[in-house]
């Protein structure tokens, strides 16, 4: 076997200096810009989480002032949801890989791609300004009338930040939709596409259809605060619950913006490390679209105790179960893919195993919240907190980290330390369960979320959760170190270190600015694994 050589010409060597990055139209460079910026926000959001977990080690609320604590969980939520999770997989991994995966040179609108990164940054700066100017304490949900009339913190700046970042998300989705429709290599029809692309297509639909609704909701909160208008103000006959309807019409589908791309990543990794075609390709593909569509008709399950009628509650409960089915179908198909595969267990696959555990628990605990009888008790308790962390951290971040480890050699042409990355994957899995599993119990015990102080009997589980969080923290910091180290010192990866199928592995690592020397024309079926494919992968 030949030793691969690091290619002299690639997208990283094509131009140096700040200007070549800040004015780039190359989707790969924009992906790297996103990678850097969302990592910074992840760190910031993580710091707020540290504050939360430290405070909750004792029942008394003795470490921070209540207002400080309230700002911590608000900013943790705002940053993690809008500035990390929503852009994470699409804007970094999707941005980098969608064009090479479909045999294109770039996205359909490279300038708009750059614009959407700038919008993200400007939105982020507004939020940072809100933090520096004293923070915001409404919770990431911005419920009125607290957010519009009562809170005396920087709601306006934060709302503007989220509004602007929302347009970044819309433009990314728009770009992906058009790219997937119009830029596919000749002969690459829809059912030859990697499932990663299907997942991103479904995600983009949600971004384009859902985000404008939350944007207009935020505009209405904004005018209420800034100009004294009163659209949701009960003092003037407005309805605060209407705001919740509009908010969740977007924000429930937004959960699928965070999770669907991660599900796409899992499909790629499972197939590659099983060297086997995805079991039930079209079922996995259409389940992504089904999740995106059903995601829009379940929003009111966030409002079972907020005064919707008994019958409306029943309808929304019924519909909520409909989202569970396509998610279950995906999990079963991945498991079936492993059956009679040829399985190996490098780091990306460890993340898949971790993902299985966490996503299963996260998804199944959703059933408790879709079921009306149990949701009344569990609504707004730590059970909900644990549930959505299992989905959004367990699902989305495991997918994001798995994807990053999977495509890192493609993105930067070098391998990271396999030893340390395995350690980190295990730490993340163990730490995560230690942190969030106790919170299910706390929730059923009745501990409400967003509590700064709590009754003594909840302390043991809270201490356990905080201890787990410290393990989780180490698991998150390790990749920063070994990834950074690998950039210069890592082994040269070669075009296709995993022996994966898929067009992106046919080009060099890191790819050329235009991705391919010539656009691939002999398009195989998706996930075609034959001994010949593996041997060829090793040659290049």
């Amino acid at each position: 076997m030949e030793t691969p050589v690091y290619p002299a010409h690639n997208y990283l060597s094509n131009g140096h200096g700040l200007k070549s990055w800040l004015l780039t139209k190359d989707h790969k460079r924009i992906a790297v810009l996103y990678l850097i910026s969302i990592s910074i926000f992840f760190l910031l959001g993580g710091l707020f989480a540290v504050g939360i977990r430290l405070e909750l080690t004792t029942p008394d609320g003795d470490l921070f002032q209540p207002d400080t604590y309230n700002k911590f969980f608000t900013l943790h939520g705002v940053i993690m949801v809008f500035f990390f999770l929503i852009p994470s997989v699409p804007a970094v991994i999707g941005n980098f890989l969608i064009p090479p995966m479909i045999g294109a040179k770039d996205l359909a609108f490279p300038r708009i791609n750059l614009l959407s990164w700038y919008l993200y940054v400007v939105g982020g700066l507004f939020t940072l300004f809100a933090i520096v100017a004293g923070g915001v304490d409404t919770g990431w949900t911005f419920y009125t009338p607290y957010s519009s009339a009562s809170s005396s913190t920087n709601v306006t700046a934060t709302a503007l930040g989220v509004f602007i970042a929302g347009f970044s998300s819309i433009l990314t989705g728009l770009n992906f939709i058009v790219t997937i429709h119009r830029m596919r290599a000749p002969g690459l029809h829809w059912f030859k596409l990697p499932l990663f692309i299907w997942a991103h297509y479904a995600t983009s639909l949600i971004q384009v259809l859902g985000t404008p609704v939350v944007a207009i909701t935020i505009v209405m909160i904004f005018v209420e605060r800034a100009f004294g208008f009163g659209i949701f103000d009960p003092q003037r006959g407005g309805d605060p619950v209407l705001m919740q309807h509009l908010f969740w019409f977007y924000s429930h589908p937004a959960v699928y913006i965070m999770i669907l791309p991660a599900l796409g990543v899992i499909s790629e990794i499972v197939s590659t490390f099983s060297r086997k075609r995805i079991f039930g390709y079209s079922f996995v593909a259409f389940s992504s679209l089904a999740i995106a569509v059903f995601g829009f008709i379940v929003w009111a399950h966030h409002m079972f105790v907020a005064g919707i009628t008994t019958y409306a509650a029943m309808v929304f409960s019924f519909l909520s179960f409909s989202v569970a089915i396509p998610s279950a179908v995906k999990v079963f198909n991945w498991a079936a893919t492993m059956h009679r595969g040829s399985l190996s267990f490098e780091t990306p696959m460890l993340y898949v195993y971790g993902f299985f555990g966490l996503f299963l628990i996260g998804g199944l605990t959703g059933l408790f919240l879709a079921t009306l009888g149990t949701d009344i008790h569990l609504h707004d308790t730590y059970f909900v907190v644990a549930h959505f962390h299992y989905i959004m951290v367990g699902g989305a971040i495991m997918g994001y980290l798995g994807g990053l480890h999977f495509w890192w050699p493609k993105m930067f042409g070098r391998m990271y330390s396999e030893f340390w990355s395995r350690i980190s994957a295990i730490l993340v899995f163990v730490g995560f369960n230690l942190t969030f599993f106790p919170q299910f119990v706390l929730g059923y015990m009745g501990m409400p979320r967003r509590y700064h102080m709590y009754p003594d009997e909840f302390q043991v589980l809270n201490v356990l959760s905080s201890a787990g969080a410290s393990v989780l923290g180490i698991g998150y910091i390790l990749p920063v170190l070994y990834f950074a180290y690998s950039l210069k010192k890592g082994e040269v990866a070669g075009n296709n270190p995993w022996g994966a199928s898929g067009l992106e592995w046919r080009t060099q690592s890191p790819p050329l600015t235009e991705n391919f020397v010539e656009v691939p024309t002999d398009i195989p079926e998706a996930y075609e694994y034959t001994p010949q494919v593996i041997r060829e992968a090793k040659l290049v």
Partner: protein
């Protein structure tokens, strides 16, 4: 080139879909409150001067026509005509915005801007007019009218304000496109930017076609 144009057209339609949902949120709020507070809606809507709104509707429909003519001119390689029709569209768009400013200033004068100084009958009081009797079968107290008509005017300002913002953006884009057309950037082969601008401009016009009856004509049969 054709692939690029198709991409641009698809992108524009997706963008307009986003816009539909953006305004859609407002229309939902509007519809709900209109059902709950119909009397206040009728009363507040009647207090708006109809003539400027009517003129604006005509102006905007006219601007859609000039926009369409400029796209036609671009397609048929008529550079001069393209620029002129674009300029005509800009003029009509600006007239619309000017009238809008005048309407807003009336609202300030009449204390019809939501907030601390809102007073639905301030203007009528000033003129010493007797209060117009609301629709049959109801007599709301002054406090009640002030409370619920404020909701109407909040939505009035948000809806027309966002529409006006879209108009301003549109006029800026028209200037750029007109300048590009003047420089001879477009011909019968390549004129996607003119078409895209046209799509956007027509969309903004259509939004107004909905806004006008919803805000100005609640109980004027």
């Amino acid at each position: 080139m054709p692939q690029q144009r198709e991409a641009a057209v698809l992108g524009m339609w997706v963008f307009l879909l986003t816009e539909v949902l953006f305004f859609g949120g407002l229309f939902i709020v509007y519809t709900l409150y209109r059902t709950w507070y119909y009397e206040a809606w009728a009363l507040a809507s009647k207090s708006i001067e109809i003539v400027p709104g009517l003129v604006n509707t005509v102006v905007l429909i006219g601007s859609s026509l000039t926009m369409a003519l400029s796209v036609r001119a671009a397609q048929t390689n008529k550079r001069k005509a393209t620029v002129n029709w674009l300029l005509a569209t800009i003029v009509l768009g600006s007239v619309f915005l000017g009238i809008k400013v005048y309407e807003y200033s009336l609202k300030f004068e009449h204390h019809h801007v939501p907030g601390a100084s809102f007073d639905f009958y301030h203007h009528a009081d000033l003129l010493g007019e007797t209060h117009e009797e609301p629709a049959s079968g109801m007599t709301m107290g002054r406090a009640e009218i002030n409370r619920t008509t404020q909701l109407f005017f909040s939505l009035y300002f948000v809806m027309t304000g966002l529409h006006a913002l879209h108009m301003i953006v549109g006029v800026v884009i028209l200037f750029i496109i007109a300048w590009m057309a003047h420089k001879g950037r477009f011909d019968s082969e390549y004129h996607a930017p003119v078409e895209m601008t046209g799509l956007y401009w027509h969309f903004v016009d259509i939004v107004w076609i909905f806004l006008f009856p919803l805000l100005y004509l609640v109980e004027r049969h």
